[in-house]
C-alpha cells in the first residue's frame, strides 16, 4: 500500500539530511531543557551551519482526578503540549507551524508526597521524549514533500 | 503685543505714489502696459513688494501723468509691511479696488503667527484678509489643499 521507509538511503536520505540542518532554539524552563535535549538527539545533534531553526513553545499542566469519599485525589495526569515552528535561519520564512501533545498518568501515593513530585518529574522527562519523537517524524515527513528542505546539503 | 495684532495694511493709502525699480523695463505704450524684470522692488508708503517680474497696467489720465490701475507680480512675490510679511508665487495688486491678492503656497507671517494657504486676499479698505486653501478661490473641498497655520496665544493674566 505504497509504504516506503522514511529514511531510505540511511544518513544521506532526504529526511536525515534535512533534520541534520535544523537547529533547535533554546526553550525556557526545565521542561524546555528536557525538550531541547530530546529534540537535539532526535534531529541529529551537532549542527554547524544550521539552515533552519525549530522554535518550540511548551504548555505544561497537571490535573488531579480519581476523587475519593474524603474529596482527596488518587491520580494525576500531566499533559505537555508543544507548539513548534520550523523557520528559515534568517527567520523570514515559516515552513511548518504545528502542535503536538502527550500526557502521562501518575498514581498519587498517600505514603509520600515527595514520591508524587518525583513521579511528576519523571513523567515530564518521558513526555519530552515522546513529543520529540512525534515532532521528529513530522519534520522527516515534511522533508519528503518539501524540495527546498531536500536540497539542504550543508554548503561547504 | 504678539499675535496677529492690527495690521498696518488697514490704513494703507493706495493713493500714495508708487515707485518701482528694476533691472530692465519694457514699455508697451499701445497696450498701456509696462514690464519690469530683474528683482523688481515696488514701494508705496510703508509697504514694499518684491518680485522676479512685474507687469503694470496703467491709464493715461488727462495731462501726461500715469494712473496705475493694476500691478501683476510673479516669480516669487514677497510683500512686506511693518506688521506682516506675505510670500507667494504670484501676486496681484488692484490699486483701484484696493485689493491685494496672492496665490500659490502663500505664507503669511504676523508677529509670531504663521498662516499657510493657497490664496490670500487682503481688502485694504476694511483690513479684512482671507486665506483660502483652494487656489481657485472660495469653493471648499475643491482640488486645493488646506489652510494651515499656528497662532501664538498671548500671555493672559488669569484664564477668563
Amino acid at each position: 500500500c505504497g509504504l516506503q521507509p522514511v529514511y531510505q538511503g540511511g544518513a544521506n536520505s532526504a529526511a536525515a539530511q534535512a533534520m541534520a540542518s535544523i537547529e533547535v532554539a533554546p526553550i525556557p524552563d526545565r521542561a524546555g531543557f528536557l525538550m531541547r535535549s530530546a529534540l537535539q538527539d532526535r534531529l541529529g545533534g551537532k549542527v554547524s551551519n544550521a539552515r533552519y531553526r525549530l522554535e518550540v513553545e511548551l504548555d505544561d499542566d497537571i490535573e488531579g482526578f480519581g476523587i475519593r469519599g474524603d474529596d482527596s485525589i488518587t491520580r494525576e495526569r500531566r499533559t505537555l503540549r508543544a507548539r513548534y515552528r520550523l523557520v528559515s535561519a534568517d527567520g523570514t520564512r515559516t515552513l511548518l507551524d504545528a502542535t503536538a501533545r502527550s500526557d502521562a498518568g501518575i498514581d498519587v501515593v498517600r505514603s509520600s508526597d515527595f514520591s508524587v513530585i518525583a513521579a511528576e518529574n519523571s513523567a515530564l522527562e518521558r513526555l519530552a521524549l515522546d513529543l520529540a519523537e512525534q515532532i521528529g517524524t513530522r519534520l522527516a515527513l515534511l522533508a519528503r514533500t518539501t524540495p527546498e528542505l531536500q536540497a539542504a546539503q550543508p554548503t561547504p | 503685543q504678539g499675535g496677529l495684532g492690527n495690521s498696518a495694511l488697514a490704513r494703507h493709502d493706495t493713493k500714495a505714489p508708487i515707485d518701482i525699480d528694476a533691472a530692465r523695463i519694457e514699455v508697451r505704450d499701445r497696450d498701456n502696459q509696462a514690464i519690469f524684470s530683474g528683482n523688481v522692488v515696488v514701494r508705496q508708503g510703508n509697504m514694499t513688494l518684491q518680485a522676479g517680474q512685474l507687469r503694470v497696467f496703467y491709464q493715461r489720465a488727462q495731462g501726461d501723468d500715469l494712473a496705475i490701475l493694476r500691478i501683476d507680480a510673479e516669480g516669487g512675490v514677497t510683500l512686506v509691511s511693518p506688521s506682516e510679511r506675505a510670500r507667494g508665487s504670484y501676486g496681484v495688486y488692484d490699486v483701484e479696488d484696493r485689493q491685494l491678492t496672492m496665490i500659490g503656497n502663500v505664507v503669511l507671517t504676523r508677529g509670531d503667527s504663521v498662516l499657510r494657504g493657497q490664496r490670500l486676499g487682503i481688502d485694504l479698505e476694511t483690513g479684512r484678509s482671507t486665506l483660502d486653501g483652494a487656489s481657485s478661490g472660495g469653493a471648499t473641498g475643491s482640488s486645493g489643499t488646506r489652510v494651515t497655520g499656528r497662532f501664538v496665544v498671548p500671555e493672559r493674566r488669569a484664564n477668563p
Partner: protein, 737 residues
Amino acid sequence: QEAPPPDATEARDPAEATATPDQLYGGPPVPEVVDPTAEVDADQVIDFAADTLSYDEGADIVTASGNVILVRGGYRLRAQTVEYNRRSGVVEARGNVIVIDPGGNQAFGDRVELTESLRDGAIENILLVLQDGGRLAARSGKRVDGRSELDRAIYSPCDIDDSEGCPKKPVWQIKAVKIIHDPARERMTYRHAYFELFGIPVLYLPSLSHPVGGSGSAGGLLVPDIRLDRSLGLELKVPYYLSLAKNRDLTITPYLYTDANPMLGAEYRHLFGGGPARVGGLITKATRETTAGNDKNDVRGYFFANGRLQHSTAWRSTLGVRLTTDDTFLRRYDISRDDTLRNFYTLERFGGTSYLSIEGWAFQGLRADDRAGQQPIALPLVDFQWRPELDALGGRLEVRANTLAITRTDGQDTQRALAQVRWDAATYTPMGQRVTATAMFRADAYHTNDTDLSPFPIYSGKDGWSGRAIPVAALDAEWPFAGPAFGGMQTLTPRVQLVGSGKGDNSDIPNEDARAVDLDDLNLFSLNRFNGFDRWGGGARVTYGARWTLDRPNWRVELEGGQSYRFDKDSDLFPVGTGLSGNFSDFVGRSTLKIGSFVDVTHRFRVDKNGLEVRRNEIDATIGSRRTYATIGYVRLNRDIQLEDLQDREEARVGGRVAFARYWSLFGSAIVDLTGRGEDPLNLSDGYEPIRHRVGIAYEDECFELGVTWRRDYTQDRDFRAGNTFLIRLSLKNLGR
C-alpha cells in the same frame, strides 16, 4: 474678484519663453527667513488647519471654516466653523464639534465655547465618549481644566446599537443630576444617581464614584461576589483594590457571612526588577470540629507567598509557600480543593548545555489520616544534567548527578547521592532503520536510619549505608515507513528495544521516590520503568511495539501499542498489578482521534497479558466548538494492587456548555464515582456515588455579566460538609475591575 491672473500669462510675450517654468511660476518657496514658532513653548501655540480662514482686522477675530482642526497641548478640536476671538481668548465652535482630550476621551456637541487653552468651556447637549468605550450624554456640560462637569447626565458603558447598527437601549445605565468625569484622577463621581438595569430604576445613591480609564492604577471597589453556602450562610465578598505604585498593589477583601464570623483576606503584589512576587492570606475566628469530635473556637486562616526572580540570564529562583491552620479550612471556605499543600524553593541554573536545580520541599497534608511526623521534608534535592557538545565516538554523552536528603520529624530519614554517565549513538541503516546504541553506568550511595518508624517495610530498606553500581546496555531500532493513504499520509513505525542491566540490589535500599509504578505507553521503552531513582528494574528484556498515524486534511488518527518480555523471572521487585510482574508484561497502548477542532478523543489502556482483562482504561473526549461543547473523562483502574492505597477505582467526569441567543450560555459538570463494591471493599460507593456537580446559567455581553451557579458537594470531611452552594456573579464592566 475678477478672474485670477494665471490665465493672463498665456498671452505673454513669446520672448519670455526662454525662462524656466520655475522662474515663471515663483520657483521653490523661499526658505523662511525666521521661523517665529521655533523657540515658542509648544503649549503656547494653537496649530490649526481648515479649508478657508479669514481674519477680521478690526475685531481681531479669526474665522476658520470647512473641516476645521485646532490642536493645542494634546487637546484637539474639530468642527465645521470655528471663531477665535483673539482679544477675549474665546474659541466658539459650531457644527458637529468634537473635543478630544489627551486621554482620548471625545466630547461631541452642537455648539461649544472654549477658552483658547481648549481645556475649559461650556458644551451644549454634550455626548462624551470615553476612551474605554463608556458614554456620557448630558443636556449641557462645563469643562474646567479637562474635567467635564455634566448636568442631568446619563452614563453607560454598553453599546447603544446592535450588530446590525439599529439603536438599542443600553443594558444598564446611571442617570444623575450631576456627573463629574476627571480623566487626570481617572475617576467618575455622581450626585443623586439612579441606577437602571434593563430600563428599570433599581438603585438610588446620593453619591457614587468609581475608577474609569484602562490604566488600572486607580483604586476602588472590585466586582463583589455573592454566594449562599450550606455551612456559611449568605456570603458577600467585596474586594477593595489599592494601587500603591506602578509595580505594587494591595487588595483587601472582607468576607461577610450570615452563619459564620466575618473573614479578612489580603493580597500584596510587587513586581521586582527580576520578576513578580505575591504574598497574602486569610484570617478568621470560627468554631472548628476537631478530630476528637469536640468543637474548638480558635483562629483559622491561610497564608501564601510565591514569587519568581530572575537573578541573571542563567540563575533563577522560584518560591512557593502555602500554609493553613487546619485541614478543612480551605475546603470549608471554598478557597481551594487541594488535599496537600506544597511548599518549595527552587534555585535553577540554565546553561546552554547544562541544567542545575537545587530544591527544598515540605508538605502540609490535609487528609484526615496524614501524620505530620511522617511527612517527608526534602532538603536539599540537587539535580544536575550536563550534555557536553563533544563527539564521543560518534555519539553524545550525558552526565547526571543527583543528591537528596529526606528528613521526617517522627520517621525514617534518608540521604542519597548518585552519579550517572550515559552514552547514546544514533545511526541510520541504508534500509532506513534508525538504530540507537546506549551504554550507561550508574553508581548510588544511600544512608538511612529509623527504618523501624516507617509504616511500609517494603519501602524502608536497611539502616546504615548501602549502595549499588548499575551497568546498562541497550539497542533500540525503529523503522519508520510512510506513504499516501485515504487521501492523506500514513506512517507506520515498528520499534524493537533490547535492554540488559545489572540487577541493582533494591531490597536494602530505601524507596523514597519510586513508590508506584504502572506500565504505560510512555514508560514502555524507558530504560527504567520506575519513576525517580531509588528503584531500578534490572535484568535483560526485549520490548517491541509500533506506532501508526494517519493525517488527512483536518483528520488525525494515531494508534500505538507494545509489550515487553523479561528473560529472568524476578517477581518481588514488580508487585502484582503493576503490569510488569512475570516474563511477559501486560500489553499497553493508546489511540487518538482528532476531527478538525470538533472532536478530540484519547484512549489509553493496559490489557492483562493472560486473560485479556483490561487493567487500566482511560478515555477522554472533547466534542463541539469553543462555545458549545461536551467533555467526557472516564477512568477505570482494575489492577488489584495490594500495596498502599492504590485500590481499584472507576470514575466518570462529564462537563458541557451550550451557548444560545448570542449572550446566554448554560453550563454544567459532574464527577461520579462508579467504583463498585467488589472493586474496592473499603470504598463506601456502591457502583454510583456522585462526588460533586455544578450547573449554571450565564449572560455576558460587552458591558454586563450575570451568572447563577448551583454547586453540590456529596463528599465530606470533618467540618467540610456535603451540601449545596449557590453562587451569583453580577459584574458591571467598566465599573472597577
